[in-house]
Amino acid sequence: MERHFEHDLEELKQRLLWMGSLAERAVHQSVQAVLDGEERLAEAVLGEEDAINEMQIEIDERVQRLLALQAPMATDLRFLLAVSRINGDLERIGDQAVNIAQSAMRILRHPQVKPYVDLPRMSELAEAMVRDSLNAVVRGDQDLAQSVLRRDDQVDRLRDQLFRELLTYMMEDSAVVFAAFELVLVAKNLERIGDHATNIAEDVIYFVAGRDVRHPALDRR
C-alpha cells in the first residue's frame, strides 16, 4: 500500500518542475527579445510573471502543510526544506527574466550597439545552468549539480568581459549610452540568474547528500 505522503511529495515535485520550466522559458524568451528586438516576446514574458508567482505561493503552502502534518524526517525533511529554497530561487529567476524583458522593450527602437556575440554565449550558459540544476532536482543527481557549481565562475567572467566592452563603447560614443546601459543591466541579470541556478544546485546536494556546500570559504577557515 503506497503511502499517500509519497503521492503528496510527487505532486509537489511536479509543481516545482513546472515552475522551473516556466522560469527557463521566461529566460530564453526574454533574451531572445533583446537579441531579436521582438516586442511580442518581451510582452509574453511579462504576461507569464503571474503564473510563476502563483506557483511559488502554492508550493510554499504545500511545503508548510507537509511539514506541519507529516513531521517528515531525514531525506523527506531535507527535500522539503530544499524545495522551499529552490522555490525562492526560481521566483527570482523569473523576476530577472522580467527585468531582461523590460530592458528589451526599452532598447527596441535603438540601433544595436555591437554584434551580439558574448551576450548569446552568456545567456546559453545561464540557461543551461538553470536547466541542468532542474534536471539535477528531478534525478537527485549530485554530479550534475556539481557541474553547475563549476560553471558559475564562467558566467561571472563573461559578465565582467561584457562590462568592459560596453564601457568602452559608451566612452567612445555617447549616442549608444542608453542602449549599452540596458545591455549592462541585462548582463547583470544573466549573471544573477547563474547565481540562482547555482543556489538550486547547492540545494540539490543538500537534500541528496545532507551536505551544506553553500559557503566553502567557511570550511577552509
Partner: protein
C-alpha cells in the same frame, strides 16, 4: 558578420529551451463534503458529574475527523454517544441532539444504529473464535442471508489482512499478532458495511509500523466510510485526518480542517496544546 538592429546569425543558432516539463500539473478537485453527523448542544452526565458541555459539531461524510485533547477531556465519552455505547454503562444521561443523516439517533433502534455505526476499540478485542467466525459474527447476528465466504474475504481485504490470513481462516484469532488482531477487529466492524466507523485510540497499543499500516488503511476506506478517530497522538491526527476537533475539559474548543488547525489555529489554547506548551 552583419550588424543589424535585429540581431545576427549568431543569435539564430541559439538553442530553443528544452523545457523540463511541458504540461501544467492538474490538481484533482475535491468535492464539497456533506454532513453525516450533526451534533447540537450535547451534554453528557456520569450520574451527577457532567463530562461534556454544550458540544456542537458537524462530522462530514467520507472524511476522517480526528478528536484530540488531553486525557479526560471527554473525547472518548463523546465518541461513544455516537453509537449509543454509553448506554452500556449505568447511570449515564445524554442531553442534546445527535442527528445521523438527519435522524435523531435516540429514536432509532439501537441494534440498527450500531450496524450502521461501527466501532473499533483501544485494545484489540477479538472473540475467542476463529478468524472466519470473528468476521462473520456481525453478519450472523444481523441475519444475513447469502454467501458468507465472499463477504468475509471482502472485509478482510478492506482491512488489509486477507493476504496474511487467507490460509489460516479457521485458526483461532489469538494466533495473530497484536497489529493483526486490531486489523481483524476492523474487518469485523467493516463486515456489516457500516456507514460510519468510530475508532477509539485504535493504535495506542500498537507499534509504529502497524500504526502506519492502519493509517494508510483509513485513507483508502474514506471513499466508502465516514470515520471519526479519537487519538492522543497529535502527529497521528495531523497525518491521518481531514478535519480535527480539539476538546478540553468537556468542551469543544476548535474544529477546522486539519491543515489549518495545525498551521494556524485560531484559539490560543489549541496552539498551546499543539505546540506542547500545555499545562
Amino acid at each position: 558578420m552583419e550588424t543589424t538592429a535585429y540581431g545576427n546569425n549568431a543569435t539564430a543558432a541559439r538553442r530553443a529551451p528544452q523545457i523540463v516539463m511541458s504540461e501544467k500539473p492538474q490538481t484533482a478537485s475535491e468535492k464539497e463534503a456533506q454532513v453525516r453527523f450533526e451534533i447540537s448542544d450535547l451534554n453528557f452526565y456520569y450520574g451527577p458529574k457532567q463530562a461534556v458541555f454544550g458540544l456542537n459539531l458537524k462530522i462530514p461524510k467520507n472524511r476522517v475527523t480526528a478528536l484530540i485533547g488531553p486525557s479526560g477531556c471527554g473525547k472518548s465519552t463523546f465518541l461513544r454517544t455516537l453509537n449509543r455505547m454509553n448506554e452500556t454503562i449505568r447511570n449515564t444521561r445524554v442531553v442534546g441532539e445527535i442527528l445521523l443523516d438527519g435522524q435523531d439517533i435516540s429514536q432509532l433502534d439501537v441494534v440498527g444504529l450500531r450496524r450502521r455505526v461501527g466501532m473499533v476499540f483501544q485494545r484489540p478485542n477479538p472473540f475467542p473464535k476463529s478468524i472466519y467466525e470473528n468476521v462473520a459474527y456481525g453478519l450472523r447476528i444481523n441475519g444475513y442471508q447469502g454467501r458468507l465466504d465472499d463477504l468475509v474475504e471482502h472485509s478482510l481485504r478492506r482491512a488489509a489482512l486477507w493476504d496474511e490470513a487467507k490460509d489460516s481462516l479457521h485458526k483461532s484469532a489469538f494466533a495473530l499478532s497484536g497489529g493483526q488482531q486490531q486489523r481483524l477487529c476492523i474487518a469485523r466492524a467493516l463486515a456489516v458495511d457500516p456507514e460510519v466507523l468510530l475508532l477509539d485510540e485504535p493504535c495506542s497499543a500498537l507499534d509504529p509500523v502497524t500504526t502506519a499500516k492502519i493509517e494508510e488503511l483509513m485513507f483508502h476506506l474514506k471513499d466508502s466510510c465516514t470515520m471519526a478517530i479519537v487519538t492522543h497522538n497529535m502527529q497521528q491526527a495531523a497525518r491521518a485526518s481531514d478535519f480535527t476537533a480539539f476538546m478540553l475539559d468537556g468542551r469543544l474548543i476548535e474544529h477546522s480542517e486539519t491543515s489549518k488547525l495545525f498551521t494556524t489555529p485560531t484559539d490560543p489554547r489549541t496552539e498551546a496544546y499543539i505546540t506542547g506548551r500545555f499545562g
